[in-house]
Assembly symmetry: C2
Homo-oligomer: 442 residues x 2
Amino acid sequence: MSTIVIQDCTVVQQPDEFRLNVLAHHDIWVRGQIIESVVPTGHRDASHADQAIPAAGLIAMPGLINTHAHVAMVLFRGLAEDVAFRPWFNDYIWPLEHNLTERDVHMGSLIGMAESLMGGVTTVNDHYFNMDEAAHAVAALGIRAMLGWAVFGSGGATMLKRAEQFALEWRGAASGRILTAMAPHAPYTCSDDFLRASAKIAQRHALPIHIHAAETLEQTQASLQRTGLTPIQVLERTGVLSAQTILAHACGVMDGDLERIAASGAGVSQCTKTYLKLGMEVAPVVAMRQAGIPVGVGTDGAASNNTLDVWESMRLMALIQKQQAHSGEAMPIAQVIYAATRGGAHALGLGDCLGALEPGFLADLILLDLGALHHQPLHDIGASLVYNTQPAEVHTVIVDGRVVVQNRRLLTLDIGPVLAEASAARQRLSRRGQERIQTYSD
Amino acid sequence: MSTIVIQDCTVVQQPDEFRLNVLAHHDIWVRGQIIESVVPTGHRDASHADQAIPAAGLIAMPGLINTHAHVAMVLFRGLAEDVAFRPWFNDYIWPLEHNLTERDVHMGSLIGMAESLMGGVTTVNDHYFNMDEAAHAVAALGIRAMLGWAVFGSGGATMLKRAEQFALEWRGAASGRILTAMAPHAPYTCSDDFLRASAKIAQRHALPIHIHAAETLEQTQASLQRTGLTPIQVLERTGVLSAQTILAHACGVMDGDLERIAASGAGVSQCTKTYLKLGMEVAPVVAMRQAGIPVGVGTDGAASNNTLDVWESMRLMALIQKQQAHSGEAMPIAQVIYAATRGGAHALGLGDCLGALEPGFLADLILLDLGALHHQPLHDIGASLVYNTQPAEVHTVIVDGRVVVQNRRLLTLDIGPVLAEASAARQRLSRRGQERIQTYSD
């Protein structure tokens, strides 16, 4: 197995959620797919490494984990602006997606995953359609991903079967970089029977479930009126809620829901920019963490977020949790960085092997150049990571022990032709007809 | 007078606050300090220009206006993290500022104004101490600024006189790029008599007033208990509130305050990141605009914002106003861009000559390269400007008809030695003693 040594960088480690250690002048040794050691510079002889990466002046930290995205939706960014929650679905996204082709998902996945890598995201939890294309993109680009083929109840057993086949076919592919999940869309688009069937498939194959739930209080109230149960209770009753489940959003949670989620072991993905942009509530992240619920950061799709920038997503989560607490003390810096790395890994059920720059963990890490003016003078690296850092400051990205971005250049693919094809398709992509893939009601 | 032609760019213009026109393949002609014309590419013979700037593929828009900053506080970024509102003042900033030297303001102003220019900010409204140093930085760097020497009531007549002298000495300096203002700190740190004296000086010399007001609801409630008046009423009664006044924050406004501000003609600066970070309220910007109050975007100081990034500030303002309205329809894209440009100019009383890419306006403009992955495919330039753009995408900056940033390089100063000096001073800068320049109470 080949070894890489990253030399003389400043290493950011977190012994726990509320602590951040910054180690100047350290070397990181990577062996195969695994971080082997983190040692003071020079403690091991670099000439023994197969590859040496000089990193003086750079900050090393775990790669960011995007716990909820619809990657290929980068194709739609800017097409649903300044609209309310319901028309965002019914008048924009679901009509747009009616025209979506396999080739589009191919393009969108490549662009979105390239954007992710260039911005320091090493794992993305992707929930979308035509996921074979997403899997091919993951394989080509060298990112790590959990992929779930999104299905509505209206797709019935046929689509559920398709999603199951996808999950089994691709699980463990690309040297293990591809993980798969079942991805029933949401309680408001899937019947209880459909959710039960999804949960059974997941259980049978030990697959995670990635699902939207309790996106807004209105959804929760509508669910209560319809069934007497909150969406979280519906997931509990149908067997969807388990330690293998990742809940996107959970903004509209009621008394008792946090306890239910915590008891199940499920994780939550928080995509703050979407909630603000569409005028939604946010989840009570601080309370969730106090209840022991794993919480990760997500971008959601670029049709609401506009980018796949996890730096911005974590910053917004921190800022809004402080706002909600009416206190600048809420959600301190260490907790924010943890959520975007190991917390996200925990939310995906991978906390024991992913999201930390520690020996034995998967070698998914990034090197940052914080030399730009807006970090100077650099009093506090943690603060700069949360409140100042831009994706463009990601200098080097290593996933699964392989350098995929170096000196701000993507090594695994020439994305130019894909961008040209997507740009040429803009008119077609932005066409909205009368038909839609689904209709939204709370 | 020399002429510049910016060739074949895409021009963003706003006929009014709610409209955004995007003109592909246009040339911008600048004559001296003024924009002379905006014409389809080739309509005027470029060989007649003294300087031609090829700009194919770049977006041209007015330079951003930062309507409230404490520029030199970049020296303190990262030093007051995860703290509540009151200790932020009393235990961090005001003790830190007790050690501030003239030389520090020199360094901080250069770094902060360089950061501003590199990020596309062409005008900054700066409220701080030792402002001669700020003025020298403005002169050296080529930015445009309104400068006010911050004074507390505790400074008495001596400091007020100093601030007046500064304002008169520097007004119109640097070929008119320097504007000056009186800058009494806030109603909660200045007595009514001190405010009255400040207002009289401002009136006598036709100087603007730049003041913090109604930062939080607690401040307003404390003011009501103390005097029966809101902070805005205090400013009205003391003669501070006028068409020449710019109010920083105004988050804690009560019934009647908006009408008072609107009637006075005063402008408001909205610095959303600070409000979130310190757990404060935000101002009702949508209602303010409906009442006809000019509203601009501000960063506040980097001790709360951490950067001087006006892109982020405008994005946050839009997102939070949507949140407050519980609707994605609030604060549409055109209105956001307007606030960061011409709206800011109006708030500073300069709306007739600044903040628009129109003939006759001051030639303060920027060229953006939106080629990065996170803009692709580029369906909607307006949306990308608000929701996707990073400061690093500012390619060229022209202030007062002079190119000060070209191809992402600051032409007016080698900032390297200043950064080195600030970095070497980090320990001293971060030292907090028992003494402070002021004590906060609501």
